[in-house]
Amino acid sequence: MNCDEFELIVLALARNQLMDARVHDRRLAHADSCARCAGRLASERFLAAGTAAVVAQIAAEAAPVRVEAALLAAFHEHVRATAARTAMPGPIKVNNWSFWRPAAVAALLLIVISTMAVFWSSSNSLNQGNEELTGLYVPVDLPVPGVAAIEDRVESAYPLANSDQQDRRQQRVSRRKSNQAEVVSAFYPLMEGEDLDSSEIAQVVRVELPASALGVAGVSLGADISTVPVKADVALGYDGLARAVRFVR
């Protein structure tokens, strides 16, 4: 037994911890023969007694009752808040990348699909429109070549500035396509001496009017059909006045 070995067990000796009786006796025997280790043991015993006294003194000390009351109130508040959170969906965590990643991918896919759909439909409709326009203006029954020129000018009087106009034009085209069976006459000027080729036509309006009204254009019909409705296309100038009319059958 030496001082180093004694040092290993001095705390247990000072605290009177349970240990093998022979080891205990040997350590105490060393302390009897070594003044330094005896002093060391005495110091540790003093310290152990001091700490035990402190422990005994503060053994009854505890947090005030108001702490428990405050904590129980906080606990109830927390339980209520937790219940409310589970009842209602919580706020979106904007910093959570795992939330935003699928949303970003979905948005990207949506943008790509939308762009492709827009390009596809616009190119398709333009091609279709061009085909329909070229097909429409093949002179079916146009005795006067100049009238076709007027109609071309009328149709292209407004450029295809935006998609609304384009849509309206496509509707007109499709409507006319459905009426391809109808036969139209040439445009007749409504004002004497009017040069239809040089006139600025703003709009062509399809109207239905009684046959008796055709007298204005110098067309006289029999009394028996004066009440029969007649379809006609009226070409209007930019001033809103009718420039020419053609008849539709």
């Binding site: 037994m1 030496n2 001082c3 180093d4 040092e7 705390l11 060393h30 023969s33 070594c34 003044a35 330094r36 280790c37 002093g39 060391r40 005495a42 110091s43 540790e44 003093f46 310290l47 152990a48 007694a49 001091g50 700490t51 006294a53 402190v54 422990v55 003194q57 503060i58 000390e61 505890a62 947090a63 005030p64 702490v67 428990e68 405050a70 904590l71 129980l72 906080a74 606990f75 109830h76 927390h78 339980v79 937790t82 219940a83």
Partner: protein, 204 residues
Amino acid sequence: MTPTIPSDAELVKLMSAGDDCAFATLYRRHQGFVYRFALLMSGSSNIAEEVTQEVFLILIRRPHGFDPARGPLLAYLYGVTRNHVLTFLKRERPYVPLVNESENGISPAPFTAEDDPFGNCTRNEIIKLVRQAVLTLPLRYREVVVLCDFHEMSYAEAAVVLDCAIGTINSRLHRGHALLLKKLRAAGAVDSATPDSQVMRCFA
């Protein structure tokens, strides 16, 4: 048939489910240890009270912070308490004239008893001297001394609380005791003729 006492882990589960009785049981079971640990570490009943409240608030808000696989609930609570006490002490340091924490152990302590150099102190005086001496220890020694001496924790349990090796606990405890004895000797509570651990050893 005696009623079974629920374990801490069971009570934490019940508490997580909103059982206030479980929380009250846990609080009454452990608040004394938490409070006294904070009291011995800080020397202030106000800080101990605040720390106790903070520790159990954390248990309320984050009960899953306690993992039964890593150790008992009390060890977890001691760890949280220790962190809060250190935070409080750092915060209070500019305003509180703390006693000297030098490692040489020779501090101009106010409890020096020059007229009673041989430790002829009463029990209450010794208690007071020991508590004051503990408060003058550097924190790394103080926490080990408080846990192992005043709370009678084993080295292994203290190592879990302080998240360090058992050997570290052992060496810090010995160093802490040596510092305490120096301070108490300086205060006259211990016979100055008692040798400390640094003097000659016999190798018989």
